[in-house]
């Protein structure tokens, strides 16, 4: 069952076809998730661009984003 917990994965486009469709139906019924979708996307984009601090040293795979 899709619920609030799938929002992050939905924002990342990681749900499979069935889950994605189910989550869109959930969104239509859930004002709180609709509200969170906007800021969560913006935050997710910022994090993707950041090249997060590594838990262990490793070259960032997203470095080309800032080129």
């Amino acid at each position: 069952m899709p619920g609030h917990d799938d929002l992050g994965a939905y924002v990342l486009g990681e749900l499979n076809e069935e889950e994605d469709e189910a989550f869109r139906a959930h969104l239509a019924r859930c004002p709180s998730c609709r509200n969170d979708l906007g800021w969560m996307s913006a935050l997710s984009t910022s994090l993707g661009e950041l090249g997060l601090p590594a838990e262990r040293a490793r070259p960032p795979g997203t470095r080309h984003l800032a080129d």
């Binding site: 609030h4 917990d5 799938d6 929002l7 992050g8 994965a9 939905y10 924002v11 990342l12 486009g13 990681e14 076809e17 994605d20 469709e21 869109r24 969104l27 239509a28 609709r34 969170d36 979708l37 906007g38 800021w39 969560m40 996307s41 913006a42 935050l43 997710s44 984009t45 910022s46 994090l47 993707g48 661009e49 950041l50 090249g51 997060l52 601090p53 590594a54 838990e55 490793r58 070259p59 960032p60 795979g61 997203t62 470095r63 080309h64 984003l65 800032a66 080129d67």
Partner: protein
């Protein structure tokens, strides 16, 4: 090792085929809510967003950044539309300015908000920080992150949500609202 092929990509392949259709449907639903269910306006915003995605494919890079990128750009287009409806038609200078503000086109020097975001991430408890690092830094899917961390995928998803919510709250407390 980071996937080199990923870095060499010059087109957002996530926009084609079945996955592309799902992104498009998700984007349309998202935009429709922003345009007060004005379908024509939403269609226009979706078209413009997809057009920018093709033009700026190299900035999106990793296919996993595609959907949040699309949502973020679409939201900015709607905001710009509302602004220009109130004042004057969008001219070329505005369009150029909007293009410069696209995610991924920032000055390579780290902005203040990037520093604050990094600090906020470092302030998270390790179990949440590790999930973010797997997903955004190592570019792993939630499923791959779950495998790497030895967790259930559902746990990764809920930690991801919790981490994002906590970050937003932490940023809001120090007055940073432009990132989220």
């Amino acid at each position: 090792m980071p996937d080199r092929k990923e870095a060499d990509r010059s087109t957002p392949i996530g926009l084609s085929g079945e996955a592309g259709e799902r992104h498009r449907a998700a984007l349309f639903g998202f935009v429709l809510a922003l345009t007060d269910h004005d379908r024509q306006w939403a269609e226009d915003v979706v078209q413009e967003t997809l057009f920018r995605a093709w033009r700026h494919a190299e900035r999106i890079g990793d296919v996993r950044h595609l959907r949040p990128w699309l949502f973020t750009v679409a939201r900015r287009i709607v905001i710009d539309d509302r602004r220009s409806r109130r004042s004057r038609p969008l001219d070329l200078d505005d369009a150029d300015a909007a293009a410069r503000e696209l995610p991924g086109s920032e000055d390579p020097a780290e902005s203040l908000s990037a520093i604050l975001l990094r600090d906020a991430v470092l302030g998270l408890r390790p179990k949440y920080r590790m999930v973010l690092a797997e997903i955004y830094f190592h570019g792993r899917s939630t499923t791959e992150a779950a495998r790497t961390l030895g967790l259930a995928t559902g746990t990764v998803k809920s930690r991801l949500n919790y981490a994002l919510r906590t970050l937003r709250t932490a940023l809001a407390e120090i007055g940073v609202t432009d990132l989220a």
